[in-house]
């Protein structure tokens, strides 16, 4: 009896934007010509690449069209969940994989694509093997990896380093030694958009990996009891607070948001010397930062090793891809259209080229051949090498965990960075939600 009420409540929420074609996104069959629906994120230049891919598909397949609707990031996250809960999902569900995908799977809302990938081996083998981790739930594949991968990168302002006559850090010890030097020169060592919380999380992801290896967080993900109390975990949390106490981050970092790109502005205006951030910020710094990127003032490197740490310094963290799932509520015709789209259009040659032009690396083996001649060639090759050489490409924690655990995590990370809880308190707060 609960379900109809749930559906009714969810339907009351928002009616949302209507699809481009004007047809209801209800996924109910009966229309004369079958049309699949597809929702994805707005914001250029990514929106343009997605739109053109769909347009190419529609041109080539007049009898099996895809209607698309674009939405803003945060609005989309709420809308897609409501729509799926109400059985009104689009045929193709765009997402980040991991913990959120798991909730869809548990509610039986997305198609199992394992056998489809076995029949279409060529589709699977073109893509980075590391991109399938976040699409795989309990050994079955529920999403097609798509678009680009975005490792977290340590960016730095070369001019700031010239000013104090220092070299980029090669270890955690170097970082701690650089902090007082930059502060003395009136430059903040690190920029950070701390109000967004996941920005802080990227630091912990690297510290955990460098100190204890990927196994430490894997234990959390696997639901092992008291996994957050692992000695490497406590050490990483302690080192984090040491950096904060040493004024490693710009004053007022906890009120800066990443959405406004103010954290990037601090780096390219020279107010901060370094910034740990997603690879996607390269594109926006190139657009907003004047000649900062084109003038060769932006440096980038993988996160340096921590002395005595067990983790491989080649490991990286971030988003190993974006993910396209098929709604199990869609009609058989719609599902066929979606699969055809996956097999023929997603990440085909033209799309790979377009993604590379946005300054991002598509998750296709040999994509580096598309970088030649691009103005961002060096950066693209750097990212490609990180991703192809990494022994472990860990998914961002907030995407990997269930939404419930992720919210508690982000909350506690914010408090850890405020220094209002100790590493031990952090661990015990987090241990309480392991497996939820």
């Amino acid at each position: 009896m609960g379900v109809p009420l749930g559906a009714a409540l969810a339907a009351c929420g928002t009616s949302g934007p209507s699809p481009a074609g004007g047809t209801g996104a209800s996924g109910s069959g009966g229309n004369a010509a079958a049309k699949a629906t597809y929702w994805f994120l707005s914001t250029q230049p990514q929106e343009g690449v997605r739109t053109r891919a769909v347009e190419r598909f529609n041109k080539a397949n007049p009898d099996g069209q895809i209607d698309f609707t674009t939405m803003q990031n945060d609005a989309y996250k709420t809308k897609i969940k409501t729509a799926i809960g109400a059985g009104q999902a689009p045929t193709i569900i765009w997402g980040w994989g991991g913990g959120t995908l798991r909730t869809y799977v548990q509610a039986n809302q997305v198609e199992d694509l394992t056998s489809w990938f076995e029949e279409n081996k060529a589709v699977k083998d073109r893509l980075f093997p590391s991109s399938f981790g976040a699409a795989t739930i309990d050994g079955k594949i529920y999403a097609m990896p798509a678009e680009t991968m975005q490792p977290i990168i340590l960016f730095y302002n070369k001019k700031a380093f010239e000013k104090i006559g220092a070299e980029p850090p090669k270890s955690w010890g170097d970082i701690m030694a650089l902090v007082p030097k930059f502060n003395a020169a009136g430059i903040a060592p690190f920029s950070l958009g701390g109000q967004s919380r996941w920005t802080n999380m990227m630091w912990l992801e690297f510290l955990f990996d460098r100190i204890g290896g990927p196994e430490v967080f894997q234990a959390v993900f696997d639901g092992e009891k008291d996994a957050w109390s692992h000695p490497s975990s406590i050490e990483a949390l302690t080192k984090m607070q040491e950096l904060i106490k040493a004024d490693g981050f710009i004053k007022g970092f906890s009120s800066i948001t990443a959405d406004s790109n103010a954290d990037q502005a601090l780096l390219y205006t020279g107010k901060a010397a370094m910034m740990l951030h997603g690879g996607w910020t390269y594109g926006s710094m190139a657009t907003d930062g004047g000649d900062f990127v084109s003038g060769g003032n932006l440096g980038y490197m993988n996160f340096p090793p921590v002395e005595g740490g067990k983790g491989d310094p080649g490991n990286t963290v971030g988003n190993p891809g974006q993910y396209l799932s098929i709604s199990s509520q869609a009609t058989p015709e719609q599902k066929e259209i979606a699969k055809k789209f996956f097999a023929t259009t997603v990440l085909n040659g033209e799309e790979v080229k377009e993604w590379a032009d946005t300054g991002a690396v598509p998750i296709v083996n040999g994509a580096d051949s598309a970088f030649a001649g691009s103005k961002d060639e060096d950066f693209l090759k750097f990212v490609y090498n990180i991703a192809s050489n990494a022994k472990a490409f860990a998914q961002s924690w907030d995407q990997a965990l269930s939404p419930t655990a992720a919210e508690v995590l982000l909350d506690n990370i914010a408090k850890l960075f405020q220094l209002s809880i100790t590493p031990e308190e952090f661990a015990s707060n987090m241990n309480a939600v392991i497996g939820s």
Partner: protein, 279 residues
Amino acid sequence: MPALLIFVAFGVIPLVGVLFLSFTSWDGLGVIQMSGFTSWRAVFADPGLMHALWVTLLVMAASWAVQTPASILLGVFLAGQQRYRAVLAVLYFIPLLLSSAAIAIAYKALLDPNFGLGAGLGIELLIQDWLGEPVLAFSVVIFVVSWQFIPFHSLLYQGGVRQIPRSMYEAAEIDGAGRTRKFFSITLPQLKYTIITSSTLMVVGSLTFFDLIFVLTAGGPGDATRVLALDMYKRGFQANLMGPASAIAVILVLVGLALALFLRRLGGRDANASQMEGV
């Protein structure tokens, strides 16, 4: 009858739905499962609820204490018939025309310690970590809320003051009462019901502050400005815990009703008694 139907459809049914959901566990996606008092126990065992309740009460008290005196004084001032006051009144009401989200975005940009007003003009005093220190962030929230709503409450008081019969003041003047005396002995007592109305709006309204705080601080730093409504949103729509979020929604409704009733009581038994002359 139509009004009743609308009230039932959009007021009562959702309320019952929320009450029902608070006794279930639901992640917004899957099957709704009855779970008895689990959500309620989880909510009450969580120190986060008490904290959010405390922050909400602080916001309520502080914004009332700041807004009421300011609104009364402004209202009395604007009730005068002089032309320059009418001009000023128009200016004062501008914040009322802006949406909360727009106000929050504007203040966030102005208060940015690196790119905001202080840094732009080079005024040291303004370069503070306004939204990054718990006490400062709380104060900023109160300030912005007051900035936004004082115009509205001034409008209420302006109307209230204009209702006071001139003859009362004339009588007082004959008795030799000064400005201050007139204000405390006539204006303020005559505004009693306006004060109650305005306070009810403020108090109940501050229970539901969401958009402004969400955009301005997102409840931060840490949980320094996480009010109950924000806590509910985060639990329900970010953590996918619809059960506990519904429980908080029910608590919000109860607190709101209790406060509204309490304030009506203050208005008291003589609510229908008139203090007008000749009635």
